[in-house]
């Protein structure tokens, strides 16, 4: 099973990817406390979905080809699970 570190790296990789489309004032930090969703979040709805799918692909590449972040459960958990890098990491690890 992928380690928490691997999952964090996968999330950071996705952050690198989406930052290309973010202005300099809206860059997302590669930091466990960085806010991804909700108040203080810097991604619009398209950016968030792109980010989610990026994370999903990267987690799948760690040896979990069936992993999904876009099922009903994940969507229902968005507000808490996607709040920060740290909460997303924990959420993904809990679902592996």
């Amino acid at each position: 099973m992928a380690s928490k570190q691997q999952i964090t790296e996968a999330i950071y990789g996705a952050i690198d990817e989406v930052n290309a489309a973010q202005g300099s004032e809206n860059q997302i930090a590669k930091d466990p406390k960085a806010i991804l969703f909700g108040q203080g979040g810097k991604l619009d709805s398209l950016g968030l979905l792109t980010f989610v799918l990026q994370v999903e692909q990267r987690v799948q590449a760690t040896g979990h080809p069936s992993f999904t972040l876009t099922d009903e459960k994940a969507m229902a958990d968005t507000a808490t699970a996607f709040r920060t890098v740290e909460s997303l990491t924990d959420y993904i690890v809990s679902r592996l």
Partner: protein
């Protein structure tokens, strides 16, 4: 087009907002302001220039469509419905007509080629086949893209972009069916990043900012090993080992660049005789000494050598790329000559060719005959320099050149090169205006305007189209609006020949006086010096205005033959043109 203030309208049948964000926020210049046309209304937007999305100041546009959406016959092909090739191509022609119509509203219009997602494979090999009434989808797509390219190839404002390369680069992540279903975004950020980089590279080329000269190191750059230690027989080049083959590949890629009009030069710390014998005698060398416009092979500082070589070639430092395997030399050049582009270079020699191809520095809106013959022109220039040193006086030398200056109106045969010259010339440039091909053509066709392109040739060869000048006549007053000349032909009396043609036009339209007003920039002092010291025109005290009254003839130098051309004049044949 103002490169610092570009506004791009994005027209697509899929969510394209992220391309806009990358065009605006990406690291590479220029930053581009974008707006997005109404989603999935491509045909309406292309057809109707009165729509509000066209009224927001866009000077460029991207039209990115799905093949099954913009060409209904292709959708039918995907559904295995009967479609003839004729029907398919007729729809492509209609789409090309819409693109052509829209291109008249902007200065540059980008059209990515049609692709299918990598995961789509249809029925495999059958997709490349054709039988009556049934065309394989992959075959149809190839035909559609080829037809589109053919229909648009003479439209200088339209730039087709190879989207299949972006797809291949992003691999299986180029498209994500879930992303499409959830957001209607067809492509990944990776694809958008690649496409944005290509668009920006072309825009830099349109603005005349593409690179002209690649300066190369020798040891471990053009061949493996140190020639001074091992002799040319001992360096790795060609043969049957991966390193030697990689250097031969790299040289082939450089030769292709040279053949497309990019100049090559050498700056190397080496013994010149040893290095040149390696180039001339090693049978594995792909590049010959005649492929290089010049070189500095000695033990001096490379930055100094590069500056010296660039001056000799009459180029600007900002048009130069320096490639060297040695990070210390790269750092030194980068620090000393910040205008030069010094790409990071892979330590792994087998990646050199790939690194060269990854540089988006050589994009140009078109390639002219002058581009293709540029290196030969430098060889001819070397011969001129040799003849100069053997002539008795400057007058003797100028007379011996047999200079011929052909002036012609702008037209299809010269507009590409004219626009390049117009937007790149800095030193001998009276007013340093910047205009696109379309703007130049429009300006030059006004009845009271004349805009001439000048081709210069002498007994050593053809310099090509090297000058551009214009005059505007209003009643009895005429104004020289542009006067620019390539450094390659400055100081040979061509300037006076150009002035003669402008003054002649003004006089014929009734001007009593023609004035040239100098607009100072950081780099055009040579132009001021010319008008002050050599033009023979009276001037005001501040030396900002120069004039000629038409009650007297302007003295044309006797060593120049002025010839009127029609805008499609072929390059004169001279001995050096065949050198």
């Amino acid at each position: 087009m103002d490169i610092k203030n570009i506004h791009c309208l994005l027209i697509a049948d899929h969510t394209i907002d992220q391309l806009g964000a990358i065009l605006k926020n990406g690291d590479d210049a220029p930053a581009i302001k974008t707006s997005v046309a109404p989603f999935d209304q491509v045909q309406q937007v292309l057809m109707n220039g009165a729509l509000s999305c066209w009224k927001q100041g866009a000077d460029t546009a991207v039209v990115w469509t799905r093949p099954e959406r913009s060409i209904d016959a292709f959708r039918q092909i995907l559904q295995r419905e009967r479609v003839t090739q004729q029907e398919l191509l007729a729809q492509v022609d209609e789409f090309a007509d819409l693109i052509t119509r829209a291109s008249e509203r902007v200065e540059a219009l980008f059209v990515p080629t049609w692709t299918m997602p990598a995961w789509w494979r249809g029925t495999g090999g059958l997709e490349l086949k054709s039988r009556p009434g049934a065309i394989g989808a992959v075959r149809a797509l190839l035909m559609m893209n080829a037809r589109l390219a053919e229909k648009l190839e003479n439209n200088s404002r339209v730039h087709l972009l190879d989207a299949s390369r972006w797809m291949a680069g992003a691999g299986k992540n180029a498209t994500n069916p879930k992303l499409w279903l959830m957001t209607k975004a067809l492509y990944s950020l990776e694809v958008f990043k690649d496409s944005a980089a290509d668009i920006k590279a072309i825009l830099r080329g349109i603005a005349g900012l593409s690179k002209k000269l690649v300066v190369l190191d020798l040891d471990d750059t053009l061949w493996g090993g140190i020639v001074g230690e091992n002799g040319w027989e001992g360096v790795a080049l060609g043969g049957h080992d991966p390193i030697g083959e990689s250097f031969a590949d790299f040289q082939r890629a450089l030769k292709a660049l040279k053949n497309s009009g990019i100049i090559l030069g050498i700056v190397s710390k080496n013994d010149e005789k040893t290095a040149l014998s390696a180039i001339r005698e090693n049978p594995e060398m792909v590049l010959k000494d005649s492929d290089f416009a010049g070189w500095r092979i000695n033990w001096q500082d490379k930055a100094t050598n590069i500056k010296d070589l660039v001056e000799e070639l009459n180029l600007g430092l900002d048009s130069v790329v320096f490639i060297d395997d040695n990070p210390a030399e790269r750092a030194r050049v980068k620090e000393t000559l910040p205008q030069i582009t010094v790409p990071e270079w892979p330590a792994d020699k087998m990646l050199y060719t790939q690194a060269l191809h990854a540089l988006r520095l050589f994009d140009r809106p078109g390639v002219t005959d002058e581009d293709l013959g540029r290196t030969e022109m430098y060889v001819a220039e070397r011969q001129r320099t040799e003849s100069k040193s053997s002539s008795g006086s400057m007058e003797d030398w100028l007379a011996s050149l047999q200079l011929k200056v052909t002036y012609e109106p702008l037209g299809p045969g010269n507009i590409k090169r004219a626009a390049q010259l117009f937007n790149k010339t800095n030193q001998m440039n009276l007013t340093t205006r910047r205009m696109t091909e379309a703007e130049l053509l429009a300006w030059g066709t006004q009845p009271n305007h004349a805009m001439y392109a000048y081709r210069v040739a002498d007994r050593f060869g053809d310099y090509g189209l090297t000058g551009l000048a214009s005059v505007e006549v209003n009643g009895g007053e005429a104004t020289v609006t542009d006067f620019l000349l390539s450094c390659r032909v400055m100081g040979r009396g061509v300037e006076k020949g150009m002035l003669t043609t402008l003054l002649d036009f003004a006089r014929k339209l009734g001007a009593k006086k023609t004035t040239a007003k100098y607009v100072e920039t950081k780099r055009n002092k040579p132009c001021l010096d010319y008008f002050k010291d050599e033009s023979g025109m009276p001037r005001n005290e501040a030396a900002t205005e120069f004039w000629w009254t038409h009650d007297q003839d302007f003295p044309t130098p006797s060593h120049i033959t002025l010839v009127e051309g029609d805008g499609n004049t072929p390059a004169p044949e001279t001995e050096a043109a065949h050198a």
